[in-house]
Symmetry: C2
Subunit: 182 residues, 2 copies
Amino acid sequence: MPRKTDARSEILDAAERRIRLNGYNGFSFRDIAADIDVKSASIHYHFPTKGDLGAAVIDRYSEIFFRLVEEGGKAGNDWVGRYVARFRHALLKDRMVCLCGILGAEISGLPVAVADAARTFFLKGRLRLAENLVVGGLSPADADARALSLIAALQGGLIVARSLDDPAAFESIVRVALDGLN
Amino acid sequence: MPRKTDARSEILDAAERRIRLNGYNGFSFRDIAADIDVKSASIHYHFPTKGDLGAAVIDRYSEIFFRLVEEGGKAGNDWVGRYVARFRHALLKDRMVCLCGILGAEISGLPVAVADAARTFFLKGRLRLAENLVVGGLSPADADARALSLIAALQGGLIVARSLDDPAAFESIVRVALDGLN
DNA sequence: GTCTATAATTTGATAGAC
DNA sequence: GTCTATCAAATTATAGAC
């Protein structure tokens, strides 16, 4: 009998949550298996190695992240605003840091495929943010510098605000970062 | 025969390096033991549990970090400038992120004593930075907001720049962050 | 696709000799 | 203080039944 929801998606959900809470080295196949009530051998059927699972988690995370930023919605009608809103959502709704923030911190100890996927997330954010800032009137050089600064503020802001258990700290950091864009 | 250098310090050195590269869950007592050529049982003599070791690593790191910021030196003659310089040193000389940056990212999966020590590092930086910004002429509220923003920019900047293997990205982030203080 | 079973290794930690 | 030896549990991963 098939599961009520796709097993592969459930695995990715559980793995993403575990990584965002404890890091790549902070979860095991058995943790994920217990989370979704299967045996760890079943996880290996879908993702042969832990590196495969890690890379798949990032790929899906990145795809969803940028799709939500692109599509827009009630979170705001500008690309940069929606990019920021995804980080706010991570802290306030998920109560977690960004997947690629924690993986970026651990990057030197990650399997190559996982490290590359995390790098790509940062690179894509840098490029797309800068593009949008150029449209907003900044020079390409200024836009790149501001894009980098915003990414750093948001990633660092999530980590610091969650460490201090102080969501208002994140809002304060965002306010300063966005002020800098005008 | 005693070792040529204090064993306890060598353990802390190796553990700090391992944590800053792979995270708290990314090293084992045997890793540390191999690094300094002793057996893992010897590590347990100095630090009974992994949590004890983790907390001791942070305490020493924080003590040295703020002592170097306080004492000054050729890195600059203002407190804020020297605070920033410690992060630059982490990236360029150590080629690592900040110990408390990576631990902050993992904080929800850490032993309580380790999590508390990491929190204290952020709290102390926030307070001391804000004090110095008030002396520089900012209102207490603005100083706190700017202190938080600088910490986030530096922690996020280290993670992003190292993930992208792009030290210039860190310098760009720092330039924008310090511009915002004037 | 999921299971049982298990291999091979690693983990944090302890007991006790020196 | 450091060692040998060991433990119980956990780890990633595989083989093969259903």
